[in-house]
């Protein structure tokens, strides 16, 4: 019998002080950035990276931790974004938090019955179902002109003020303000998700990823926990969607296309799955390259595809794997 419970080996170490320090340093650096660097274009680009980083991170909860492949996780960003936009347009143009809350709850309400069907499958069938549902959602927002604006997308979404306890701290129409709001929300989501992933609940998701049948044979209700993992991933995507519409003031159906879904998957793979922070880096690489190539040619997909192919061939475990590879190199 172990007497010293605090030093139980075999457990992975919890966050080392150096990691907390590193996280705080990156957060502060990003928070200061817009005040020392007035290039609005890049501030805006980083905002977009953080939003897609959150989406890619939420996909990692499914892919890297629960072992479930979703081809169109962007659908849930889209659902959240449309709902927040519609609320701001039709219900109340100034209620930022209420709009976000409604948007995220609505995303969850859509994701729940979909997830109920999804978790009855696994592997390839699960992935195909995500495509089927995703394409349905895409077609609905594309064709339902009177509500979603169809092809033109949702335009004229108002920019509400950012209020904290009746104190107005900014406006979502201001690039710096929406940048800071995004930074804070993404940071909170990252910390919370990391906590959840390292909890006993996270251990259940990992067990399902490793061996679904064995998980059932230790007494885990696999479907139920897959559904919890799915809901967590979709709600995080909905939060990313709320940020997206506030940042852009616009959303069109292409954001919810299968093409865009593949992009999110690439972000996760580029960054390295199963780490949460890897996909954030992956989103950075993807969006930066995309932006860089777009300035040179309109056929950016071809070149981005080439870059992705090269990266996958030479960095098969993504950016995260690269880190541990270098560490091993240095040790030898």
């Amino acid at each position: 019998m172990m007497s010293d419970i605090t030093s139980i080996p075999g457990d992975r170490p919890s966050a080392a002080p150096i990691k907390i320090f590193g996280f705080a340093a990156i957060f502060l650096a990003l928070a200061i950035l817009p005040f020392v660097w007035d290039n609005r274009f890049y501030i805006s680009l980083i905002t977009q990276i953080m939003i897609y980083g959150l989406l890619a991170m939420s996909l990692d909860v499914l892919l890297g931790y629960t072992g479930l492949l979703s081809f169109m996780h962007n659908a849930y960003l889209g659902i959240g974004a449309y709902m927040v936009g519609l609320f701001l347009i039709h219900v109340s143009p100034t209620s930022l938090w209420l709009a976000c809350l409604v948007g995220v709850i609505f995303t969850g309400a859509v994701a729940l019955p979909v997830g109920w069907v999804q978790v009855r499958t696994g592997g390839l069938a699960f992935a195909l179902l995500t495509l089927a549902f995703g394409m349905m959602f895409h077609t609905i927002v594309w064709k339902w002109y009177s509500v979603t604006g169809g092809d033109d997308g949702l335009m004229g979404v108002p920019s509400p003020d950012i209020q904290l306890f009746r104190w107005t701290v900014g406006n979502t129409g201001d690039p710096t303000h929406i940048y800071l709001l995004t930074l804070v929300v993404v940071a909170i989501c990252f910390v919370l998700t990391r906590r959840i992933i390292r909890s006993p609940f996270g251990a259940v998701l990992e067990a399902i990823r490793e061996n679904e049948e064995r998980a059932a044979f230790v007494g885990i209700n696999v479907r139920r926990y897959k559904l919890y993992g799915w809901m967590l991933a979709c709600i995080l995507a909905g939060i990313a969607g709320a940020l997206f519409i506030l940042y852009k003031g616009y959303i069109g159906p292409t954001t919810m296309s299968a093409f865009a879904g593949a992009g999110v998957l690439m972000m996760v793979l580029l960054g390295g799955m199963g780490s949460l922070w890897g996909p954030l880096i992956g989103a950075g690489i993807f969006i930066y390259i995309q932006d860089y190539i777009t300035t040179m040619t309109e056929h950016w997909e071809i070149y981005l595809g080439l870059v992705v192919i090269l990266l996958v061939l030479f960095m098969p475990t993504g950016f995260v794997g690269m880190g541990s590879y270098l560490k091993r190199m240095r040790r030898n």
Binding site: M2, I5, N211, R214, V218, G219
Partner: protein
């Protein structure tokens, strides 16, 4: 008296093959029952039906008086019906410790504590260490399961099943692939467990079966052809025929 676990005309067909053929068995609430039979006799299939891995074609399974036929696996595990697999089934990329801990956590509860650390489930960790020490896996606790020697993976398989505090434990050829030392250790452990809980052991090593079983059931072409004490089975004419052919 109500049986602890029993089956009533349990059948299972795979296409034209009848893998389990009207099996009626009664298992006591403690002791070691071995199920033997030639390859393809239907031993694994029989365990698969009872533990909810595959549905029965017909017939019923009763556990402590209630009908548990075709119940979901995780519910059966919660009722205390645990198993190991003939083909090793473990969590490859988790450490040995994590493998057993998740099984213990699933049994003890706490899986919905989404903001706690894994360490906060202290009882789970302590129990996990107990089990690892009991099975002699404590030195490999940090290793990822996939890096273990095959025999040690088999031991881990037993450890995971034991973490569920079973009332009845099905062991499908647990010692296949273990070293003689490990086999010896595990068989003594199984014998010890059988004093408290019910063990159903599928095993090909006849010396082992004869030495540790309380009762033996013999399956052949999916049906029970003999049942009794080890000495009775040893001399049973039909059993000899089943194993060695008619000329024996």
């Amino acid at each position: 008296m109500e049986a602890f676990l029993c089956t009533d005309d349990l059948c299972r067909q795979f296409g034209g093959v009848t893998a389990t053929d009207c099996v009626c068995i009664d298992i006591e609430e403690s002791g070691l029952r071995s199920i033997i039979g030639p390859n393809g006799a239907g031993k694994t299939t029989f365990i698969n039906i009872i533990t909810g891995r595959i549905p029965a074609s017909s017939g019923k399974v009763f556990f402590q008086g209630s009908d548990i036929t075709n119940k979901p696996t995780h519910e059966l595990v919660r009722m205390g019906i645990c198993r190991t697999f003939q083909i090793t089934s473990i969590f490859q990329n988790l450490t040995v410790f994590e493998n057993v801990r998740i099984a213990r956590q699933a049994h003890k509860g706490g899986s919905l504590k989404i903001f706690s650390t894994k360490r906060s489930l202290k009882n789970v960790s302590v129990d996990t260490w107990d089990i690892l020490e009991r099975l002699g896996l404590q030195d490999q606790a940090h290793q990822e399961a996939k890096n273990l020697a095959y025999g040690d993976q088999r031991v881990l398989e037993v450890a995971i099943a034991m973490a569920g505090s079973p009332q009845i434990l099905f062991l499908d050829e647990p010692t296949a692939g273990m070293s003689p030392g490990e086999t010896n250790h595990i068989s003594r452990l199984i014998r010890g467990l059988a004093e408290e809980i019910s063990i159903v052991l599928v095993e090909h090593d006849m010396d082992l079966v004869m030495s540790i079983s309380d009762r033996i059931t013999v399956l052949h072409y999916g049906s029970i052809i003999a049942e009794g004490l080890p000495e009775e089975i040893k001399t049973h004419q039909m059993v000899r025929e089943a194993y060695l052919g008619k000329d024996a």
